[in-house]
Symmetry: C2
Subunit: 251 residues, 2 copies
DNA sequence: GCATCGGTTTGATTCATGTCAATGTGTTCG
DNA sequence: CGAACACATTGACATGAATCAAACCGATGC
């Protein structure tokens, strides 16, 4: 079984210059002698909630990582059916070295700040700094594992299991992000609309709404407002996901 | 849109020493000064159809690539539901540098020959040979793109579209494998049982069987026996997949 | 205060796919 | 040859999720 997308535990402890959060990919650079060069290259971009960063097929001349907020990658079929294929939280890497155009629609689902590097110089730096490539390889492998867990969810889980799984995934990543999570309260905001959840899960938004209500009625989750979720018993939630209790963490 | 899994066009033309086929990952090594070293490290393993290469969670002390035959990666839920998450054809890479245990069940669905390297020395070689890491990164990114296309299939396509898509995927990869495909006859053997197809597509084998029959009845495909497929009109098949006509090839 | 709007919930109904069961077909092996 | 077996097909029926439709909620603006 694949592990969850790489969490902050895996990070070296340095913080990248003036970036407000740690950047996983960039940390490889921070460790290198090219730090000064890196500082020159770095720039920030902001996006408002709902804004599209790039459309699938458009030129994408930068790579970067999410500093704050959430980006999604989605594919759309001609008739409008949509499937989310990536959910990028702070520290996640965006873009593909070696490709000039975006393969998916990249959208900000909340206000987002990105830390960017123009692609060409970044690629050159990859050649000079092998540790950066290795870091990217590890991150990409983690993402591939996450994608495969996602495939199991899409192909074989019931609507109820899908919802429980998504909440568990967000709870895990969210509590990993707020590094010092006060106690085990496990209360957080769902950073996605019902429609975005549906796009993630391969469901309709009506089904998402119904199953969220059902989990609430059964006491698996507690809702305060539409978005704030409290998980009174994480083990109970895990039972509802259909996954192994341990989340299938490999060695 | 992501492109299909990397095809042979992308390969350098050298052939790897005494391997009967070109190895994508290994070609990076073939280009390096470490060729002699590589030759010492390389060894072959054979598996019979149906044999399991490693079970999820088991120790996996090697990496390698498929020389002939087909491997699948599958995840299994406690109650037995199964989802294929990887389909590895000749030249595809198996294993994960930096991880000691397998994350999925790896199974030979046909007789298979693999070209293997013990993981530890391979990892050391990666450190000495940056081009190997970069090659692996590109391959992993391709696989991630394939996984994301697969997610769209699992989440949003109808059973009929799923079948058409799978046939198109195999046809494309298969004709790429038989490098000199005589004409455009587009006849090939489905290398998967109905059950394996169902595991790939997130369906039951009964639904697979029904939809294959339906596509045959509608003249989209022609069957000779259970496995041999002829595609009289590839564009017609593509229409049935629900994808863009061009297969969504990015720049 | 009221209208508007995006996001959400809920209900009634339909439909695609799953489930259960029987049968068919080709191959292997006594 | 026939039995046994794996694989595949087909049918009848059940059901979970989609669809279509209406109403609700909370924020924002006039």
């Amino acid at each position: 079984m694949p592990k969850a997308p790489a969490l902050f535990e895996a990070l070296p402890s340095q913080q990248c210059a003036d970036c407000p959060i740690r950047h996983r990919a960039v940390c490889a650079l921070c460790e290198s002698d090219d730090l000064a060069k890196l500082e020159q290259m770095k720039y920030y971009r902001s996006f408002e909630a709902g804004q599209t960063v790039v459309w699938s097929g458009d030129e994408m001349d930068f790579v970067g990582s999410v500093v704050t907020g959430i980006l999604t990658l989605t594919q759309t079929m001609e008739d409008g059916r949509r499937q989310m294929v990536g959910l990028l939280l702070p520290s996640d890497f965006v873009g593909r070295p070696g490709r000039s155009s975006a393969a998916y629609d990249v959208t900000a689902t909340s206000d987002v700040v990105m830390c960017c590097f123009r692609k060409r110089p970044f690629e050159e730096m990859m050649l000079r700094t092998p540790s950066l490539g290795n870091r990217l390889l590890q991150m990409t492998l983690d993402e591939l594992d996450a994608a495969r867990e996602w495939m199991l969810l899409l192909g074989r889980k019931s609507a109820r299991e899908k919802i429980a799984s998504l909440i568990a995934i967000i709870a895990r990543r969210d509590s990993a992000l707020k590094l010092r999570n006060t106690g085990n309260d496990l209360t957080f905001d769902l950073p996605l609309t019902r429609e975005a959840m549906a796009d993630y899960l391969g469901l309709t938004l009506e089904t998402v709404s119904r199953q969220v209500s059902a989990l609430r009625k059964d006491g698996v989750i507690v809702l305060s407002g539409k978005r704030q979720v409290t998980i009174p018993d994480f083990d109970r939630l895990m039972e509802e996901t259909g996954d192994d209790a341990d989340g299938g963490y490999p060695g």
